[in-house]
Amino acid sequence: MKPDRARGLSRLFAEQHDPLKRYFLKRTAHAWDAQDLVQEVYLRLIAADRDGAGAIRNPEAYLYTVAANLLKQHATMKQRTPLGSDGLEDLLDRLATPCEAAAGVDRELRRRRLGELIGRLSPKCRAVLTLHYRDELGYREIGERLQISTHMVKKYIVKGLAICRQGMDRYA
């Protein structure tokens, strides 16, 4: 055992300790926040629906509203600046990231990774997704260009979204 090497390692660890700690804190906070919020959103959804049939006219809007309110409370509790005016995108970011700065960084990284995932999709899936989201073509138009039904176009989008979703999960 060489004492020099051991000392070197411990020094290295001491130097790296803070960044490492920050990294893990960020990761755990990230996971905890998102999970906790989803749980809370879910419970409120159940409770609201139990209050009376048809109480929730628009489930999606309800989800976002509840999530936004919870985030607002959460931010106050943690003395963070409340939700900005970015709206939905910001809200969804915040569901997964603990603070605004991290949200910005993550967003850029996420988009780059998502771009890579799209590039790795099967040729048809990739074409459909890109034509739809980049070139803003409708299902029918894409179907005509690829000589597939509009129904299949939608299927490819669903498939592509699911593959990307799973792929992004692997990065987290």
Binding site: A34, Q35, V38, Q39, V41, Y42, L45, I46, D49, I56, N58, P59, E60, L63, A67, L88, E89, L92, D93, L95, A96, R107, R110, R111, R112, L114, G115, L117, I118, G119, R120, L121, S122, P123, K124, R126, A127, V128, L129, T130, L131, H132, Y133, R134, D135, L137, R145, K154, I157, V158, K159, L161, A162, I163, C164, R165, Q166, M168, D169, R170
Partner: protein, 370 residues
């Protein structure tokens, strides 16, 4: 992170969940009617996992425009590329020959075969094969890509009668044209037992190397940018790298090395011969093949070919009656002698050794008129 690989059914369940969430998301954008809204709410209420998945898809969706904008191919290129996906045909075992029409009995055992048409692999071989083929033949023949997963791939019989075994994480692209047959080893290893068809020579591309096969069994392996080929039996020609251009112009390919049984050639990234071992370790070259050969109700000819991947002394079934006999059993793959001994017990079968092979003949008396 490794969890989806280790638990494929959990990964499938997650994929299904993601697809459901994505479908609800798209339906929501198109507008839901009353019944759909209720169904959507029920789906959300099923579990927090559904809520989380829906929110995750929503977030992903928010990133999609920006992410899709980074795609560099234009619409025309994407459409052209998508059209190549049709060329990937699903794996089908070669149709049983008419003689194989069987009496009622157990269906032949089918080898498990992982077939994921890998898009990336497909692209790689489109690049590798299409230019030359399209020019020469005027029209494209469908190309099939076969990929094995993390478990060793089973054996695969191509429509021309060639038999291919893939190691784990391996992929080949196959194109069987009217005048020639092409196999590209995209990654990993493959054992190839070439179906005899003198009218359609078979060429195997490994990296930049092109091998031409003359009725033989050989193992090919990708190694970095180069590769190796080990000839188990028969002969394989390694073509000179320039041959690819000459072939396009119609000239005869130049043979860089004629590889014989037991030889192992190593090719470098440019496709040139880098090393040639005259006495390859066949046991090592075939170590990845399954240790056991099992078959149910298969023809003797078919089973014998499976043993031939392991031995430099191939079994040659000369008698067509014997070749067509249906047998079942389970043997150590590296003990072809046990199989030969078994064959010798079958009625009307004779075994003759010599000439570097083991010949299986019919009994002279049974063929002669009484």
């Amino acid at each position: 992170m490794l969890d989806p690989q280790h638990n494929p059914s959990a990964a499938r369940a997650r994929r299904r969940l993601a697809e459901q969430a994505a479908l609800w998301y798209l339906d929501q954008r198109e507008g839901l009617d009353e019944a759909q809204r209720a169904a959507f709410l029920d789906w959300l209420k099923h579990s927090p996992g559904h809520v989380a998945e829906y929110l995750a898809i929503a977030r992903l969706h928010g990133d999609l425009k920006a992410a899709a904008a980074a795609q560099t191919l234009d619409a025309g290129q994407l459409v052209a590329l998508a059209a190549t996906e049709n060329a990937i045909v699903p794996l089908r075992r070669a149709a049983a020959p008419a003689a194989a029409a069987q009496p009622a009995g157990p269906r032949p055992h089918r080898q498990p075969w992982h077939r994921i048409a890998a898009a990336a692999a497909a692209l790689a071989c489109v690049a590798a094969l299409s230019a030359g083929l399209a020019l020469r033949q005027g029209r494209m023949h469908p190309m099939a890509v076969y990929t094995s997963a993390s478990s060793p791939g089973g054996s695969l019989e191509l429509a021309d009668g060639s038999l291919v075994q893939l190691d784990r994480d391996s992929a080949i692209a196959v194109r069987l044209g009217a005048h020639r047959r092409d196999i590209a080893l995209l990654r990993g290893r493959a054992m190839i037992d070439v179906g005899h068809d003198p009218a359609r020579p078979l060429q195997v591309t490994v990296g930049a190397s092109v091998l031409r096969d003359i009725g033989t069994v050989f193992e090919v392996r990708r190694r970095g940018a180069g590769g190796t080929v080990t000839v188990i039996s028969g002969q394989v020609d390694l073509l000179a790298p320039a041959a690819a251009w000459r072939r396009l112009l119609g000239g005869a390919p130049r043979i860089a090395a004629a590889l014989r049984r037991g030889e192992q050639a190593t090719m470098d990234a440019s496709g040139r011969l880098a090393a040639l071992a005259p006495h390859a370790d066949i046991g090592r070259a075939t170590a990845w093949l399954p240790g056991e050969i099992r078959f149910r109700h298969r023809s003797v000819a078919e089973v014998a070919r499976r043993f031939n991947a392991y031995t430099m002394h191939p079994l040659v079934i000369e008698n067509p009656r014997v070749a067509a006999m249906r047998i079942s059993g389970r043997f150590h793959a590296r003990d072809a002698d046990a199989f030969v001994a078994y064959l010798a017990t079958l009625p009307g079968v004779r075994v003759r050794r010599g000439d570097g092979c083991i010949r299986i003949l019919g009994r002279a008396t049974s063929d002669a008129p009484r």
